[in-house]
């Protein structure tokens, strides 16, 4: 069985570099959420030379647009969205010290190159396991871009959020290494 590693955010580059593709991780601490629309705004600010409303240094961004929470729930169902839509924006955020992304699906060559350069990991949460994942989300605040609704930037406080390292800081990529092991001719 692969290792299960507990991680507390924020993280250091050193901790991130120890993670290997296929490690199961349980994240605890604060993580930010952002999808396409929020990324577009963040990058827009950078283009204008402005400061970002969140400090990404040592942090994770979770690509998610949760469903509304029922009364008495901290969060509504909140599984990952497909990551490639964020690819054009991610390298610039990695440069600012972003240490990890949580999503589902493949990433571009440029993103993987930037992960290697700055020391970051890409984690996958199980797509469609939104109700299950929401159990590990204990508190949710809106940080900014409230007008975007589910796509606003939120701060999640998570406890033992389950994810798997799919691309590590050396560029080992489970999406490339695993399917061939089960491929039949």
């Amino acid at each position: 069985m692969e290792k299960v590693i507990r991680i507390k955010t924020p993280v250091t580059t050193k901790e991130i570099k120890k993670l290997r593709a296929k490690d199961n991780v349980l994240l605890t601490g604060e993580i930010y959420t952002a999808r396409d629309a929020a990324h577009k705004r963040l990058i827009g600010l950078l283009k204008e030379g402005k400061r970002l409303p969140i400090d990404l240094n040592g942090h994770f961004i979770y690509y998610v647009g949760p469903a509304p929470a029922k009364p008495g729930y901290a969060s509504g169902p909140a599984g990952p969205t497909t990551s490639y839509r964020m690819d054009p924006y991610t390298p610039q955020l990695l440069k600012l010290g972003l240490k990890g992304m949580i999503g589902k699906g493949t990433r571009s060559k440029e993103v993987i190159a930037a992960m290697k350069e700055y020391g970051a990991v890409y984690l996958a949460a199980v797509g469609g396991a939104a109700a299950l994942i929401s159990k590990s989300i204990k508190k949710v605040d809106v940080v900014c871009y409230e007008d975007l609704g589910a796509e606003a930037i939120h701060r999640f406080y998570v406890e033992d959020f389950p994810a798997i390292v799919v691309i590590d800081s050396e560029g080992n990529n489970l999406y490339e290494t695993e399917p061939p092991k089960y491929r039949l001719e």
Partner: protein, 281 residues
Amino acid sequence: MREIKAEVIKDTVRDLFLDANYFIGKDLYNKLKEQSEVEESPVGKSVLEQIIKNNEIAAEEKIAICQDTGMAVVFIELGQEVLIVDGDFNEAVNQGVREAYTEGYLRKSVVNDPVFDRINTKDNTPAVTHIKIAPGNRVKITVTAKGFGSENMSSIKMLKPADGVEGVKNFVVKTAVAAGPNPCPPIIVGVGIGGTMEMAAVLSKRALLRPMGEPNKDPRYAQLETEILQEINKSGIGPAGLGGRTTALSVNIEYFPTHIAGLPVAVNICCHAARHAEKVI
């Protein structure tokens, strides 16, 4: 003539969308269980177990299976002896969607304009509706909440008649395999063949609504479904795209007569969160 109040249509649409979003079909649940027992990849097996657990939590707590509660698609078979009274039929359908999504804690994911404004309509309307007139005095409503992680991996192609069975097979397999981990495998593959371009697309969506394990009635198409399914599962993509034998759970083909010069093929991909429900009024 049988009179049915628009309000009954509205209530039915609302209840069906709540049902579809909270409760995965028994057929699909059982299929996922079956696969989790035979999946050879340990990571794949654990992904399937998480999906099963997720569906159990959603049903128990009446919360959405997936946060992407989709775009609302409604298929209606309207008996020709039915008269809808006390309201506008289309508005009743949209009001049903509106109530389900706002009262049921479902995500609103629809924007008003695809290219320019892209402003959220805040109630997940309008629904995409397909209406067919049928004999009799009943109304059959089938709804599906279609997530876009998988919708985005769908494709349509106007093949040449000479491309034949092999051409169809290659296109479907290529589309499903190219989707890789993005549509949340294990997937269900809806295939619409024939008709015109838009007909093939609608057939492929309809194909996704078929109960799990029910083959096409024509043995040749049933055979083609089996062959394509086997081919896709040879890819090794596996649950969540992390390797394994379970990439697709089912391939469902629907077909329609077509023109002498054409062979339209549409492939509509659906994730494991294949949410649909139906009711006859």
